[in-house]
């Protein structure tokens, strides 16, 4: 009887130990999975030409439709920045996908992270909603889901549907360079920036082709060519965040 008791106790101990070990192992695997290691041959970047931009806001709308962004949030904002000659000048601002992103550095749980191809991504399943990234972003590129977004999205047309899941209440969201289009396009053998299906929605929707998207590692890409031929600037370069969104200033020759 005593013997059996000990055996039972041992069994319980052993199973408890086994359960704990499994839990720790699973935890460790999850933690290590949180670091998307590996390399990518690509380095995505966007060029926005302020000389062409008319401030129509199609980029914002397309973004809303494809990413199911609620009406009170804009992943891509179009801001009037003044007059240039006799026409207005605009600044369209997606997420800068900084090389040294303050949001990634400050996030306590690695819900914001760098993809190997340079996209600054959000893990919406992990975000705790502390909003430190919002405080840290110099570009106001992030928005918090103060309320649950329910009902149909007015920006989504009847004939289509968003490509990504709607974010829950209580997490911070932002532009992802339409990673879903890039990834699916690459899997289909398409070239992001060349083939519309593999290019961010805002770039495709722009009626005046003010936006160009592509791979900075690819010398044949349009972004590479533009940036090596034309002077460009980035927002708040003094901060050293190294944005991957480049701007071409409004210029005289095209201002007419």
């Amino acid at each position: 009887m005593a013997d059996q008791n000990i055996r039972r106790r041992d069994f319980i101990k052993l199973s408890a130990f086994g359960a704990a070990a499994t839990a720790i192992l699973r935890l460790a695997r999850r933690v290590s999975a949180s670091d998307p290691s590996g390399t990518s041959p690509h380095k995505w970047a966007m060029v926005i030409d302020q000389a062409k931009c008319t401030g129509c806001g199609y980029c914002t709308l397309a973004c809303r439709a494809h990413n199911d962004v609620p009406p009170d949030i804009s992943w891509n904002r179009v801001i009037e920045v003044g007059n240039f000659g006799d026409r207005k000048s605009y600044l369209s601002r997606p997420c800068m996908h900084c090389e040294h992103a303050p949001c990634v550095e400050v996030c306590p749980v690695k819900a914001s992270y760098y993809r190997p191809d340079g996209i600054v991504m959000m893990n919406y399943d992990r975000c705790i909603g502390c909003r430190y990234c919002e405080v840290a972003c110099p570009y106001g590129g992030r928005a918090f889901n103060w309320e649950k977004f329910t009902g149909p999205n007015p920006a989504v047309p009847k004939w289509g549907q968003p490509e990504v899941e709607r974010r829950p209440r209580g997490v911070v969201e932002k532009c992802s360079f339409c990673y879903q289009r890039i990834d699916r396009g690459l899997a289909m053998g398409l070239v992001p920036g060349v083939d519309d299906e593999a290019t961010p929605a805002c770039v495709v929707a722009c009626p005046v082709r003010a936006r160009v998207f592509g791979d900075l590692n690819d010398e044949e890409s349009e972004v590479y060519k533009i940036l090596s031929e034309t002077p460009s600037y980035r927002l708040r370069e003094d901060l050293g965040t190294m944005p991957r969104v480049y701007y071409l200033s409004a210029r005289k020759e095209e201002a007419a």
């Binding site: 600044l91 303050p102 992990r126 909003r131 209440r169």
Partner: protein, 415 residues
């Protein structure tokens, strides 16, 4: 029900507890509304994402700084005479940190994921470090407070064995004090660094914030401990306090305040030198704008200068009422500093437009629900300390329960 209420003998104590319970009740309702309806019930925005709750959180942690300071004094510097005060400070620290955890749960958008920081580490994040330190230090405080609970009659009668274990934890007090000192120094200053590392906010972006948060906590924490001790001794005749050691602590507070004021002065003065977009405007908001009353009156004059005068002058500090007022002002000054820092960094926004890097202003005033839940948390803290004074004997400088008389060794009776 009415009969029971009628049978209560209404004393100042019962009035006080009832008032706190009412505040807690409404606070709990407000908290429930926050959890059900989400943070849309607050006045926080994407431009000012942090507000009243963060201030309460930062203040509660600063007010708990007495715990690590006095424990370090007793168990590391071997200043045994402060042991009874360290006991009080430890308990206040435990309550303060639990208040901070409660407000954080209110504040994060996904309270169900509060444990993520423990599992998913981002070692680059100051906030991660703070979260880990606060979690670990809360464990230290629980252990440090265990002997207090273990000494209660109720515990000893109900679970004598558990009570014995809890008392035995005291054996490890020096080690806990070392761990506590390390963790506290780390996160008290890191709370300042949480703001100080943000390039996007020029008024915050400077290393001084961590130093100032540390020093102001070293003044505010012991102030609250001494204030609560003196207040309790006045209200409960059975509580006997040793005024000599309290006076020594207030003397220490005065010196810390002088150091704080000195660093604060240079910090502020250095920011006036040359125009820097965002920073200059932030300083203007602080010293001339809407926060100027808080800054000059609560932070500098009442929060530092007046207490220094009172606590440094022997004639003034010998008068208990005057000393308590001074300590209360220090506490208020530290809270005002936390609020002003939090708000000044967010009210001024720096634009990112190419030819126009200028400051823009926004506004924030906490919503009713924010106030209600915040007051609820504060009421919880006040109630916990009140009950601790009454039932856990946390303030007792002479009739220390057996087993805590000596700081280092444990009497044979419990071994």
């Amino acid at each position: 029900m009415i009969a029971t209420i009628k049978s209560i003998r209404w004393t100042p104590y019962t009035y006080w507890v009832t008032a706190l319970l009412v505040c807690m009740f409404f606070g709990a309702i407000a908290g429930l509304i926050v959890f059900v309806r989400g943070l849309s019930v607050t006045n926080l925005t994407d431009l000012v994402p942090w507000g009243l709750w963060i201030t309460i959180d930062l203040s509660a942690i600063a007010m708990s700084a007495g715990a690590f300071l006095l424990c370090a004094a007793v168990y590391i510097l071997d200043l045994k005479q402060y042991q009874p005060v360290a006991r009080t400070a430890t308990f206040i620290g435990l309550i303060g940190y639990s208040m901070a955890v409660l407000t954080l749960l209110l504040d994060i958008g996904r309270p169900d994921r509060f444990w993520h920081a423990v599992v998913f580490w981002n070692v680059h994040s100051v906030l991660w470090e703070v979260t880990m330190c606060v979690t670990l230090y809360l464990c230290v405080l629980v252990l440090e407070s265990a002997p207090i609970i273990g000494h209660t009659k109720w515990m000893q009668n109900r679970w004598p064995k558990v009570a014995q274990w809890m008392v035995r934890v005291h054996h490890y007090a020096p080690y806990l004090a070392i761990v506590g000192l390390g963790l506290s120094m780390l996160h008290q200053s890191s709370l300042g660094a949480t703001y100080g590392v943000l390039k996007a906010r020029p008024i915050w972006y400077r290393p001084d914030l961590s130093v100032l948060f540390m020093i102001s906590a070293m003044a505010g924490g012991p102030s609250l401990t001494v204030l609560v001790t003196m207040l309790a001794a006045r209200l409960y005749p059975r509580i006997q306090i040793n005024d000599t050691i309290l006076e020594k602590i207030t003397n220490f507070i005065a010196w810390v305040l002088i150091g704080y004021l000195y660093f604060r002065f240079w910090d502020a003065l250095s920011m006036t030198y040359t125009y820097m977009p965002g920073r200059t405007e932030g300083l203007r908001v602080l010293t001339k704008g809407i926060l100027s009353f808080n800054f000059w009156v609560w932070e500098i004059i009442l929060g530092a200068v007046v207490p220094i005068v009172i606590l440094r002058s022997q004639r003034f500090r010998k008068q208990p009422v005057l000393r308590m007022i001074a300590l209360g002002l220090v506490v208020a000054g530290v809270v005002a500093y936390r609020w002003d820092t939090t708000i000044s960094g967010q009210l001024v926004l720096l634009t990112y437009l190419p030819n126009e890097i200028v400051a823009r202003y926004t506004n924030y005033f906490p919503s009713f629900i924010e106030f209600l839940s915040g007051i609820g948390v504060i009421a919880y803290g006040a109630l916990a300390v009140t009950l601790g004074i009454r039932y856990l004997n946390i303030i007792q400088h002479y009739e220390v329960p057996a087993g805590v008389v000596e700081a280092h060794s444990l009497p044979a009776a419990t071994d």
